[in-house]
Amino acid sequence: MKLIVSYVRRHIWMFLTAVAFLALEIFSDLMQPSFMASIVDDGVKGKSTGTILRYGAIMLVIAAAGAFGSVMRNIYSSRTSQLVGKEMRGDLYRKVQTLSFENIDRLQPSAIITRITNDVTQVQNFVNGSMRILLKAPITCIGAIALIIIQTPKQIPVLVGVLCISAVLIFFNTKLGYPRYSRMQQKLDRLNGVSREFLSSVRVVKAFGAEKQEQEKFDYAAGGFAKAGVDSDRVSAVFSPLINLTVNFGIVLLLWLSQAQTSRQIGRLMASVNYMTQVLFSLGMVSNILNMAVRALASSGRVKEILEERPAQAVAAHPPEFRPEGAVAFEGVSFAYAGTRRNALDHISFSVQPGETLGIIGPTGSGKSTLVSLVPRFYDATEGKVLLDSHDVTGLSPELLCHAIAIVPQKALLFSGTIAENLRWGDSGASDGELYRAAEDACADEFVRGFPGGYNMDLGEGGVNLSGGQKQRLCIARALLRRPRVLILDDCTSALDAETESEVLNNLRREAAGVTVLLISQRISTVMRADRILCMEDGALRGCGTHRELLDTCPAYRAIYHSQIGSEKDDG
């Protein structure tokens, strides 16, 4: 609730304006019946058209004022609630951008998506609804209660009873509703998760004819969500009629009591029955908004979870400012992924001079990608230090790291938008010439120009229209455009044919002279020309040196070599 209030507070004037107009609306609502009564009683019964016209005019003026209030109230309340929603969404999104992979892995992407979209909407609906009844319900309720107390003090016990029972019912409604609504939102996470998984692996689903299996998964998730929905709807199905029943029985009780009394005051009885209906009316409104409120509470709890999530990586308060040269060093670095015990990296130490090219090779799952992912701080080392120009990377500002390092990931990932827009991720201010140059160096210029629209061709989601090798080359161009000090190439030429690959690598050597390159590859021929090569196995360093040195000293490297080149010569 605190969270919701803190957002509403930012627009407190608009909120109050809406409430003020609401007051006008209520005032007009309350006045109208009395004038209507006057028209009938004085005008029609008195057969005086003049009176009818006079009262009619007054009534229309009041109604117009009410309509005006209502329109204005709606304008302000819509704006306020939408702004609250917008800001909450924006804050969530911004927050998510600051989280590290560890956080994201734990929170689950689909759950984050649900919160940004659905949960915020729940809160927003409540804020809007609250401005509609905020005054109405309490004013009518308090007014009616006050009148009962003043006019028919004898009925206070009945009133107190009704209010107490209603309060208890409302309490239980909240108590039972809250966990159910949050479970419902969790099930929505699940549903989003299942559909997201299906969408991102639709090719595999179709290739394996697993549509039925996916449908079953979806049905199960949707069924779970529906069941959770029934569960939470049923809470209100139980309680809101019960609140009605309580007030109704209050009325019955009033009638019964006055029936038993000897001195009857019929006028007062009528009045208190009327007031009781008013109480009923406002309690009904309360119970209406109550479910919205409980749902919003559950949702705001979930929103808060993310807003209060501590980024797993601390950002240094006073990071040093310097122009990075591009020297990278690992000092006794160990790393284990959260939730696993096995070290993915085990006491790794090495250093790379600025401008040096370091090849990294090793069997599948030996920790090559993990190793390079510590340099731009995708993860932080659990032990030891990763240094950039002899500064611990954990003490550097994210901006500095980001500008100094460019990575071409193993999985070529592009975003929706045009090719040029994707490349400009590297440098949003790059000129067209620079753009083409980077693309040429990545051997991408030619095929891009062959596309309808060329650099302005819109890529579908994730660049699905491109072949694997084309995507990889665009990713390389994107990284080149950044002109980094450290360039990380994580097996990013695997889908390129050998000719294109060697052309790309040659271009790199020429264009990126002076840039430190960390080059992961499976192909000996690719890493062979690096200044030095790291050979990894099971998260540990097996050897480090030039191609020649490793061939002589490192059995693991020799095995890889023979599997590729040696055997060619044997049977070729």
Binding site: S78, F218, D233, I407, E461, G469
Partner: protein, 584 residues
């Protein structure tokens, strides 16, 4: 970056509603009960004021009122019961309707061809599956029940008014005409706005999904600021449209209220004049005025419901769009069942393009005898994967045909055809289930030893054993916890287990180290013996021993033959081979 303001096409609302209604099939009986119960609640809400009035006057007159009070208590109790039952059932009926809409939407979606998924952002489709479906249900459940109550009230009161005075009744009908008019004007606006709102919401979802999926790159390139700016601008647009939609909807009630009041005054004045002339009794007038007041209220409420119906319609339109998409072609009625295919494949003059005017394959002719191991090589973007896409009928050829065992692929049942292939795609998608279930994906109840055997063949067994729970380890992050090479090994194991007559490996081992790759190759040799298999690989060492090597270049078959033949030819293949081996 993402496209500008959505284009809003006005659609046929009646048609939409009719089709929406047809989706509620299966829940109609439940809906009927709910309508019945809600009509009962309207009866009790009419009766209770009457009873209270009678009771009060009985007490006033000093008559015994216990029985009346008892009646009242009974009425309230029934009212509670009916109300409770109605809400209780509504909960399950409403949710059942949503469930069935959602499930049939997903079912329609999964039948769509791949090009549909290429065109749409994932988050946007997710939004349709959640937000738009929810929108339908919210309004549907609320408004349907109320609608009935209002119609009852209108008919009842209209009769009473006619009975009292025909002329005045006609006058008050004028206000109804105005109500209709204004509702139309306003809902025309709100409908458009709601539609935009849902579209923008979908886009917002799309962006959120994409940026979370690609967060590693967003961070690596320090794009947080741009991503936020872009999100903010979409968010702003959404907020703007949603606010406008809400404001326009908000005009409805006050205007209606004004109209009502105006009408009330007009009738009062008219009847007052009539009364002066003695044409009408004063008592009649006051009753008539009270009724006319009650008469227009349900109309206003219906107008309001109609307005909120627009969100449902907007959601429904977006859902029906999916239903209207052309699904993968149905199997022909005379489709040939495909059992144990021999695996003889022929491409005859096959042409294909993903986008018109940009041909990817141009007049491909290939003949691959049963049991052959065929390797496809060529530069990136030359169309190798496209061949696979056509074989598995992810896409259909533009012209020419592909024959399997002498029959056009399109003449087989789709499910038979797809199960004739074991495919390892470049796409190494894994699912958030156990390693074991990932390997046995597509089939169920496979015994563990067969899964192990498949994993061993694929060289995946050693690393799986090292996982915390071995084969039962659940891949919570869709396999993000595995390295790319390990993912490939799992997908190979998946294909090995499928054990289909034709094997397709598209860059299956590109991220796997060469030592492991050799082991896999040796193990696969036993499996592929006697089977038709297609290998796509860039490491030519992988495919050297294939029976036939097909070199694709620019969508043409440039060369084909064995390694020796092609080396002797000294053409494209030979030059590629030499570059790669560093022989030059």
């Amino acid at each position: 970056m993402r496209r500008g303001a959505p284009v809003v096409k006005p659609k046929d609302m009646k048609g939409t509603l009719r089709r929406l209604w047809s989706l509620t099939k299966g829940s109609r009986k439940g809906l009927g009960w709910i309508l019945f119960l809600s009509s009962l609640t309207s009866v009790s809400s009419i009766l209770s004021p009457l009873l209270i009035g009678n009771t009060v006057s009985a007490i006033d007159a000093g008559k015994p009122a216990l029985r009346l009070i008892g009646f009242l208590a009974g009425l309230y109790f029934t009212d509670w019961l009916v109300n409770f039952l109605q809400k209780f059932f509504m909960a399950s009926v409403g949710q059942r309707i949503i469930l069935s809409v959602r499930v049939s939407l997903f079912s329609a979606m999964k039948k769509l061809p791949l090009c549909f998924f290429d065109r749409h952002q994932h988050g946007e489709l997710m939004s349709r599956l959640t937000n738009d479906v929810d929108n339908i249900s919210n309004t549907l459940s609320d408004s349907l029940t109320m609608l009935l109550t209002y119609v009852f009230t209108i008919v009842g009161i209209f009769c009473m008014m006619l009975f009292l005075n025909v002329f005045l009744t006609l006058v008050s009908l004028v206000s109804v005409v105005f109500i209709f008019l204004f509702t139309r004007i306003i809902t025309k606006r709100t409908r458009k706005l709601y539609r935009q709102q849902q579209e923008l919401l979908g886009k917002l979802d799309g962006q959120v999904e994409e940026s979370i999926s690609g967060l590693s790159l967003v961070k690596a390139f320090g794009r947080e600021k741009q991503e936020v700016t872009q999100f903010e601008s979409e968010n702003e647009k959404f907020c703007e449209v949603a606010t406008r939609a809400q404001i326009w909807s908000g005009y409805l009630m006050p205007i209606m209220n004004m109209l009502n009041n105006l009408c009330f005054v007009i009738i009062a004045v008219l009847s007052g004049m009539m009364a002066e002339k003695g044409e009408i009794a004063v008592g009649t007038i006051s009753s008539f005025l009270l009724y006319s007041r009650q008469f227009s209220r349900p109309f206003v409420n219906i107008a309001n419901i109609y307005n909120s119906f627009q969100t449902a319609v907007a959601g429904a339109e977006r859902i029906l769009e999916i239903f209207d998409e052309q699904p993968e072609p149905e199997d022909a009625p005379d489709a040939i069942p495909l059992k144990n295919p021999r695996g003889e494949i022929r491409f005859e003059h096959v042409c294909f393009s993903y986008e018109p005017g940009k041909p990817v394959l141009k007049d491909i002719n290939l003949s691959i005898p049963s049991g052959t191991c065929a390797a496809i090589v060529g530069q990136t973007g030359s169309g190798k994967t496209t061949l696979v896409n056509l074989l598995t009928r992810f896409y259909d050829v533009d012209s020419g045909r592909i024959l399997l065992d002498g029959h056009d692929l399109r003449s087989y049942r789709m499910s038979d055809l797809r199960s004739a292939f074991s495919v390892v795609l470049q796409d190494t998608s894994l699912f958030g289930v156990s390693v074991r279930d990932n390997i046995s994906y597509g089939g169920q109840g496979v015994p563990l030893d067969r899964i192990r055997a498949a994993a061993s063949t694929a060289g995946a067994d050693p690393f799986i054993r090292r996982l915390p729970q071995g084969y039962d380890t659940v891949l919570t992050q869709e396999g993000a916890e595995l390295s790319q090479g390990e993912r490939q090994l799992l997908t190979i194991a998946r294909a090995v287990l499928t054990d289909a007559p034709i094997l397709i490996l598209d860059e299956a081992t590109s991220s796997v180290d060469t030592v492991t790759e050799q082991k896999i190759r040796r193990a696969m040799l036993a499996i592929t013996r006697g089977r038709t298999s297609f290998l796509i690989a860039h490491r030519l060492s992988t495919i050297r021993n294939s029976d036939i090597i097909i070199v694709i270049s620019n969508g043409h078959v440039e060369e084909q033959g064995t390694h020796r033949e092609l080396m002797a030819l000294d053409g494209k293949y030979a030059s590629m081979y030499r570059t790669q081996m560093g022989i030059e």
